[in-house]
Symmetry: none
Subunit: 495 residues, 2 copies
């Protein structure tokens, strides 16, 4: 079919530019000389403009229209769906609006950085106000049924609506708040912050972890960057980064987190290579794969039964005389704090709930940007019992709003819930999974994930994939049961 061949060609072309944009971003965060920021910004503008032009071209619209009515394979239908969706988003937003929003959020990120350093919300406020105004405008361009915020949620997680997130948090929040009050750890933990972990040993151990869980270094690499991330630069080029603080174990969980993202993308079927299907389904499904390795597997006892001797060998000064049990207690301690990215598994989703409630209010007009610091403190006190937060460690802690990414945060919670739900299905199909983990046999686990999730790339919509893998809709039940078992029944590695 000529139209389908033509669509695949267009998809490869647009994907190639998107991959190159990922390379430029990777280079900027890992390699690029400091003075080249302005050059790189122009290059981004030019290449993003090219992607936009290719997507809105009437010719592509014609091809998609021809294919809309046709009988197609599942994969071809998915390709039509994914490209139509991306094209619609570009067609609906005027090019001047997109450019203006890009310019505004680019400036806002610089200002946000300064405001956070100086703990000065007032400095950031005028930019945030403009971003909110433009984001509300954006929802009008994109369209929605009743709730403007739905338009932005859908950008990040196809099909997700405000009512869905409301429902999930209604189930989660009371349970989590109660758990937090009962569980908060007061027992002494390992003094990791007073230890010094050699940088090269950290890098080597992170590499070993990645290789152990099955990350293919022939099809990727690990480099240091200010903030850990993973990115796809080609079907056979899925890179991860990490950071190495001298007195933190964060590098272990960052390696597993970014490794989880990368395993997902390295597992996509080769027949989708370098097309719009050569990506994870959505941010939420992606996050389910990173959190699965970081938390459910990576903080579990069986995983460390296998790997703890390696950790002891890599850092003998710290661990050779430390019992595995003490290490496990430390990395699983429940201790609510002001910072989302440092949160334990119980409090994490409450950080998201706070951002979700504030975003909804900003987008509906019920909340004004200037009132955010006060509302932030109020909610942190109510949900997490945190008081005395600075704005730097409060409302200014995340870059997402400066990016203009309203509707992004809820995907983190979707990821946590989906991870537990997938894990439950995995354990149902692999009853001896605990034993496999304890002897370092990750291959069977990965095969299950690959056949159920990885290989499909972006073929299925998020909700459809969850149904297909687990037999039901996304639910908070599995995540809550996982936490209960872990923290109340103290059953290791279970859900």
């Amino acid at each position: 079919m000529a139209a389908l061949t033509e669509l695949k060609k267009k998809s490869t072309e647009i994907t190639a530019i998107s991959q190159v944009l990922s390379l430029m971003q990777w280079d900027q965060e890992v390699i690029m000389p400091g003075r080249a920021a302005a050059d790189r910004a122009s290059q981004f503008a030019v290449l993003s403009g090219l992607v936009h032009r290719l997507l809105v071209a009437p010719e592509l619209g014609d091809i998609l229209r021809v294919l809309q009515g046709k009988k197609l394979s599942v994969a071809s239908r998915a390709l039509v769906r994914v490209i139509t969706r991306e094209r619609d988003q570009h067609v609906k937003q005027p090019e001047e609006f997109v450019c203006e929003f890009a310019r505004l959020t680019s400036q806002a990120q610089t200002i946000w950085q300064r405001a956070r350093q100086r703990d000065d919300f007032a400095l950031f406020l005028p930019y945030l106000e403009k971003i909110v105004t433009m984001s509300r405008q954006r929802t009008e361009y994109l369209g929605y049924e009743t709730e403007p915020y739905d338009a932005l949620l859908d950008l990040h997680e196809e099909g997700l609506r405000t009512v869905d997130v409301d429902r999930l948090f209604a189930e989660l929040a009371p349970h989590l708040i109660t758990m937090l009050q009962n569980l908060t750890a007061h027992a002494p933990l390992l003094p990791a912050v007073t230890w010094t972990f050699d940088r090269n040993a950290q890098i080597a151990f992170a590499e070993k972890l990645l290789a152990t869980i099955g990350y293919d270094f022939h099809r990727g690499r690990q480099d240091p960057s200010a903030h850990p991330f993973s990115t796809s630069i080609g079907h056979d080029d899925r890179r991860v980064t990490n950071r190495y603080h001298p007195n933190s174990l964060e590098f272990i969980f960052s390696a597993l987190h970014e490794g989880g993202h990368a395993l997902y993308e390295q597992g996509i079927a080769r027949r989708f290579a370098n097309t719009h299907l050569d990506n994870g389904v959505s941010l939420g499904i992606h996050e389910s794969q990173s959190r699965l390795w970081e938390n459910i597997i990576g903080r579990g006892k069986p995983f460390w039964e296998y790997l703890y001797p390696e950790l002891q060998e890599a850092f003998p000064a710290q661990f050779s005389n430390t019992a595995l049990a003490d290490f496990l207690t430390t990395i699983n301690a429940v201790r609510p704090g002001p910072i989302r990215v440092e949160a334990d598994e119980v409090s994490y989703n409450l950080h998201i709930l706070i951002r979700f409630e504030l975003e909804k209010g900003l987008l509906s007009g019920a909340i004004q940007a200037r009132d955010l610091p006060a509302l932030w403190r109020e909610k942190y006190e109510n949900y997490l019992g945190i008081t005395g937060q600075t704005d730097a460690d409060g409302v200014l802690q995340d870059i997402h709003w400066a990016h203009g990414s309203f509707g992004y945060f809820p995907t983190y919670t979707i990821g946590n819930l989906a991870a537990a739900q997938f894990w439950s299905a995995l354990r149902r199909d692999n009853p001896d999974c605990r034993q496999a983990l304890a002897v370092g046999d990750f291959g069977r686990l990965r095969q299950w994930l690959a056949s159920r999730i990885y290989q499909h790339g972006a073929v299925y919509q998020p909700a459809e994939l969850i149904r297909q893998v687990t037999g039901e809709e996304l639910s908070s039940r599995y995540f809550l049961r996982y936490l209960d078992r872990k923290y109340i029944d103290a059953v290791p590695c279970s859900s």
Copy 2:
């Protein structure tokens, strides 16, 4: 003038994509995971195709036509000239051809690397044959008067023709062959090949050299790669690479060579930033700047009077008890060998002559790719007295043919000749240059080069620039005089 503004906008757009192509190339040679070669090849094809489309667009032709007749500043006239030239080259080559050639040469580079490692010319041959066939097709597209090879020479060095190169080699070759017979060093040299230079110390010393001659690390970086090169990824992003053999001093001269290229580009006036004028004039002029630092300055006595103590400090085991005179004798020894990039200044241009003769034959059809290994050995024996070359150290030693860059090699000789001619002009204007070098005062030298050559970017045509700086046409005279003085009269640092 609206058309000029429009032209500058187009120039910035096309330059941005070219810079990103340079980033992709840099990444491929320095960073990219091995398995990603096919992905990268597609990305090259797509982005090269986009550059092609932007260049051949009738709209750009209209803008250039409007400006052709107008009274313009020197710089604007140059911008019109450079873009017209580039556009013409693309208009003449069909888009599918350009994309196909980009894909082929991207794959061929990976294969060449493997073939060279395994000393297996047969592995590379099918790719080389296709590249030759497509290059011959390319000369037909580009057009030429009598000699197909002219079309490719002009691509790399505006205005250069086969007869010019024939003439220069007719002057050079007999003189060089005679010198070689008389000069070949038989005296014992420093046993550098039996020494082991620590890799990290090599990297650090190469960095010191670059910083010393004025390379700005805020606007560039140095990384290891299989084949040293320099590239421009932005006005403020001029990167160099180097390689570090454990028993070779090559890293010193590679650093100076690539540093010379990068100093040139770092010295281009900011008003030309990220346009078609933000490049060196031509490969030959570029090479004159790298060879000036690598050879004329970098193998001279005054330079090492200043830097030898630093070298002794960096590698005390090798140099603390070695006299400067012995070091100078060693780095200037005339000893023909199989490898171009390791060649002394007398034999170097004979390596180029061999490639020039083979390329001419391949392009005219007089030589078949499969016969290259035998012809290569024959010519190396005739011109340089070399026997027993492997293919890895012979016909497979350079990446250029895998790149599809026929017509490139002669620009190295242009560079050697122009370097000596520029150096003569520099010394005329700076009679105390020897003393400045001996105390490490490179600033004045660099200022002279910047004001005469660097700052102009691509404004003047190569022949025009040479006339402007030296007062005459390119000649082999200065280079031969430089060699005579150095090797026969034994005058240090002179020409």
